[in-house]
């Protein structure tokens, strides 16, 4: 049965207008970056940025890949951090979330609170830094760059809520009566239905690692361990890196496509994680269900 609703017309206008505006606003900067990366530097300096490249050129990309060692090293490190952090993090987060989702576990609320507590109270940045740098002596190692972000408390709670929502207690109970232990319940009953949850948490985890520059800035002692974003940060900031690049590429520093190189670097650095998103998106809405700390 369809009922005519006159308010629907007006609403669909509002809907169309606002969603279009927001969508455009969200995408526009990407367009500016991409088009800028295909514009020559002189053109940018003369006429500023624009939405479409006025003279299409791949000069900036050529400059980057003329001396690919540095950027490839940063890329390699980024893939390494993202891979290890996402896989290990996902395992640990899921195990923890499973434990605090089990009703029969007496200390589940204590454990969830202790995990949540770390987000509302802590020693702060300096003791945290000194812990890794001076107590554990991890400065300059790759461990110091991926370990500190292995578990995000919020993602544990996200996962816990997802498990509670998608694995009915009755199923676990009957498996128990049939003699299955927690090990088997976890691998054979819980894990197979966690698809959307794993995809969502995995994406956030991967995103966090891919975009990290902060830990590289804190714990690196040489550019060997830099993540991609910190390499980019350094590139954006220091004219030094630019000049070095110019030397290798045999370009006069004055002609160096500084602005467009920055933009081309941005494109290169964001690409992979953006490509990942559409594959994960269909799980997204069912994967993001936020719950309370207590179970």
């Amino acid at each position: 049965m369809k009922i005519k609703d006159p308010s629907k017309m007006g609403f669909s206008v509002i809907k169309g207008v606002f969603l279009t505006i927001l969508s455009l606003l969200c995408v526009l900067p990407f367009v500016v970056i991409v088009s800028g990366s295909f514009t020559s530097n002189q053109e940018i300096i003369r006429n500023g940025f624009s939405l479409f490249p006025r003279d299409f050129t791949v000069e900036a990309y050529k400059t980057i890949f003329k001396t690919p060692e540095d950027i490839l090293q940063a890329y390699k490190m980024n893939v390494y951090y993202t891979g290890i952090g996402t896989v290990l993090g996902l395992i640990v987060i899921t195990l923890t979330a499973y434990v605090i989702s089990r009703k029969e576990f007496k200390y589940r609320n204590t454990v969830s609170f202790l995990i949540y507590f770390t987000t509302i109270f802590g020693g702060g940045m300096i003791p945290w830094y000194l812990m890794y740098a001076n107590v554990l002596n991890l400065r300059g190692t790759t461990l110091a760059i991926w370990f500190p972000a292995l578990i995000t408390p919020f993602l544990v709670i996200l996962m816990r809520t997802f498990i509670t929502g998608s694995v009915p207690d009755a199923v676990v109970e009957s498996a128990k009566i049939d003699g299955a232990g927690h090990w088997r319940i976890f691998w054979q009953i819980v894990l197979p239905v966690l698809g959307p949850g794993l995809a969502t948490v995995g994406l956030f985890q991967a995103l966090g690692y891919w975009n990290d520059w902060y830990r590289s800035s804190m714990f690196s002692t040489s550019s060997k361990t830099w993540s991609l974003q910190f390499y980019l940060y350094d590139l954006v900031n220091s004219t030094q890196a630019m000049r070095q690049m110019a030397q290798y590429a045999n370009v006069n520093t004055a002609d160096l496509p500084t602005q467009s190189v920055k933009l081309a670097m941005s494109v290169v650095a964001t690409g992979p994680i953006l490509i990942l998103y559409p594959f994960v998106q269909r799980y997204f809405v069912s994967g993001i269900t936020v719950g309370a700390v207590k179970g």
């Binding site: 308010s7 500016v32 970056i33 940025f49 940045m125 000194l130 953006l274 998103y277 809405v285």
Partner: protein, 498 residues
Amino acid sequence: MSSPISTARLAQGSDRRTDERRKLIVLGLCAILVLVLFLPFFTWIRVADQDALYSAMGLKASVIKKLTPDHSILTFLSFVETSKQGVLGFWSFLLLIVALAAIALCLLAFIRYLRRNRVAEGKGMLRTYSTFQKGMVFSFATAVGTIGLIIFANHHYGLAGFAPGISLFLVPVISLVGYAISKRLEKTERVLCREHGFIEEFRRNWILFLFLVPCFVFFLINNYLPMTGIYFAFTQFNFRDHLFASPYVGFKNFEFLVRSEILHLTQNTILYNLVFIVVGNVLQVFFAILISHVANQRLRKTSQTMIFMPYFVSYVILRVLVFNMFEYEVGLINNFLTSIDRAKVDFYNTPSYWPWIITLFYLWKNVGYGMVVYLATITGISTEYYEAAQIDGANIYQQIRYITVPLLKPTFIILLLYALGGIMKGQFELFYQLVGNNGTLFSTTDIFDTYVYRITTTQPLSMGLGTAAGLFQSLFGFIVIVLTNFLIKRKNPEYALF
């Protein structure tokens, strides 16, 4: 065969009752005695060999005049401060905290005992006993730790300068007695309430404990052990001495902060966060509702993807983007202004623009994420509600107003509580990347995190100050979230976060 119930019935015999009464009185006495012995005029640590010790410490006569020979564990830190013995600082500080915890736990046990008739059904006195036991463990630890401190200090100065007072030996004895009796009482109570203890729980669910090991190790290293570094906030930190041996200065760092930075940092941090929370949530709910009404699946997916995209941009790239837009010479905006014959604006030297710019880009990056969270809730709402409302003649605005929005309330409250928990934590990366080390803009853009980061990376000698700022930030945020959660819990326990 004796089932738990029949044992419980036996336990209710009158003999057992008077026996339990007597034990409870002993417990109360233990708690009171421990509390009394903690009072400042009971000596824990005595300076036995004054002249030798003070000369070993290298103190001047003017300082010695201020020192008294008898100290309780609660007052020992002031001795450390006056005599400038940083070596003893961390240990005494830790003991002070443990002692305060012991006192708090004993008092809490009393309160629990007095309110025993109002406790939740089925738990009996178990919580009271467990609090009491913790209190006893902590007071025991304080006493033993103090003995350790004395041994350490004597060893450090190479002479028997410090001696233990009598209280120091009474406390562990009393604690042990109290603990043992309370364990006994707890055992019968456990049977009554059919609750099991830690050992039984471990026997049953040891695999679950095993699952928690990596998580435990992580949070221990990453969060809980660094909390001991809170002590740096009370020192004049330097790298010359051992990490925990910088001179203890009491609340000097905090005093300095209060006089200089704290007001403006707090104000900036809170204002930004409030704007982020309020405007962010309103926009997120608004667009979640709009997008949930898009019937065409492909259109819906496309716009959802587009709105979510900024979330993937790293802050470093955001920096490039903002720079390209607001730069003076070639920036997009100034470029546009020139093209319509208007004067250029020098954004990077004008602080007043930045609250707007930062808020704008925060929203740009985060509207999509929150929108999807709300969308997940909206998708979960049964269509029957809407169908029923349509039959009753409600138009689309009324449906949104009376069905969708009320059903989004729990999600909103949870997101709000999570956000309030971090109200003193700014979006560090956002602020740092957009503003960087541009000092001209600090008046409107400096928040706690950027301030502390600047100290960590550029002024290693002010690390004590930085820790103090971090501790203030942490405590303030902690109090805000605990209070809010408490209020919400009283009004509606369903919505409480913990």
